[in-house]
């Protein structure tokens, strides 16, 4: 685990750059993280990010694409448009959460 400075703030990240402490995240940070991977956040993006954050608090783990789609009501197709190529990973990155489990 290392630290990095984003927006003049020191945050803890893993070797892939994912935040390791969800409490260090806020919406300003999300905007900066999104910009770093070439995404400009719209209301649609925020809907997905907020679902992921809320669900993480309730479940203790990052939702999979299926869960965001069936429970959060955002179709997988839309998630691929909002966060191209690797939506699960990019969404978790922007939301300051660990990569989703699912893959064991």
């Amino acid at each position: 685990m290392t630290t990095t400075t984003i927006d003049g703030r020191t945050v803890h990240v893993n070797d892939e750059g994912f935040l390791v402490d969800p409490s260090e995240w806020d919406e300003q940070l999300a905007t900066t993280l999104a910009t770093q991977i070439g995404i400009t956040l719209t209301d649609e993006h925020w809907r997905a990010i907020r679902f992921l954050r809320d669900d993480y608090v309730a479940q203790g783990e990052t939702a999979t694409l299926r869960r965001i789609s069936t429970v959060g009501g955002i179709p997988v197709k839309t998630l691929f448009q909002l966060f191209p190529q690797k939506p699960a990973k990019k969404l978790a990155y922007v939301a300051g959460l660990p990569k989703p489990h699912g893959c064991v």
Binding site: L65, T70, Q85, P100, C103, V104
Partner: protein, 419 residues
Amino acid sequence: MQNLVILGGGTAGTMIANKLRRRLSDDDWTITVVDRDDEHRYQPGFLFVPFEVYSHDKIVRSRQRSITEGVALVYDEVDRVSPDDDVVHLRSGRTLSYDYLVIATGTTPRPDQTPGMLGPEWRHSIFDFYTLDGAEALATALDSFDHGRLVVHIAEMPIKCPVAPLEFTFLAEAWLRARGLRDRVELAYVTPLDGAFTQPVASARLGHMLEERKVDVVTDFMVESIDPDRKVLVSYDEREVPFDLLVTVPVNMGADFVGRSGLGDELQYVTVDKHTLQHTTYDNVFAVGDASNIPASKAGSVAHFSVEILVRNFLEHVAGRPMTESFDGHANCFVESGDDKALLIDFNYDTEPLPGKYPIPLVGPLSLLEETRANHLGKLAFRHIYWNVLLPGFPVPLPAHMSMAGKRVPHTSTTSKET
């Protein structure tokens, strides 16, 4: 008299019934197992069926024969569970009241979940091998396949036995080579993951093995549909992978009654505590084996190790004592790699598969993350252990918890999983 009802008479259900029957007095407890038929299938054997290594009779036995005396076996389908009333409703209209319920109904491939999969090409050019009839149909198809694109595909994680599609690819490659057909067949491995496997050290090793065998690996591919007319897989981000013969692992889901009964998550896996296997809402309901939502591989070894933990916890729980055992997600899987060799991987919730020796440090005889003939013989020998030691619930001299003894930690890696 207390009633224990076990739904599902597969690997986990059979083991738990047999072990608990020996530990719970006949005078105080009835144990009932519900399953839809009397065919217990040795599922690790399905992988070999397309290559005509195992015949039907080697991998199917009577459930009744595997379940000890003193356990009632009911042939029926589960319609739903009423967990507030402690009642199981069966399809026939019969009901079973329980004091404790163990759900062991596994996971099921669901080709109906991907548009186009169950179309006109199903079992013509599109096959699965996680069902016995699918594996047998694939054996026939492979027999007449002599050129074109063979695509091995995973629809969505999690799936039962996540190494099996890799094993199938390795075996198919060796099989084509042995038949002199390898140069006439393009092989592709299409996965929703970002590499060959889920864990970094194993993924690098297995990815390298695919590369050596000239298998084209297509990553981050989430299938949206299959176009049966053009024979292409189409992803959500509109990439296409053409095939002549598709061997797919469809979306895996838990039993429909779990969803109907409100006991599961979005894939109908029973929501349990990952260390005790007790339901998150109902403390007299447990789930074991593939049916639960624990973040471990859906594999027979996980079923076996978690049954050991559950038996000890269950006996404490029904005696009114706190449950003291904690499951660590231990999995131990052989990975067939073709040419009569195999790898072995051993891991848990917190530690990824690492190289080394198993079960005895430095000695083995099995090698972790390395292709050897001893590992292959271990995999073949396991079928006898399964029928004669594991299912009857006899002790297997392997600890339920994972051990770091004998494992080597590569310098480039941390042992701890990131996710």
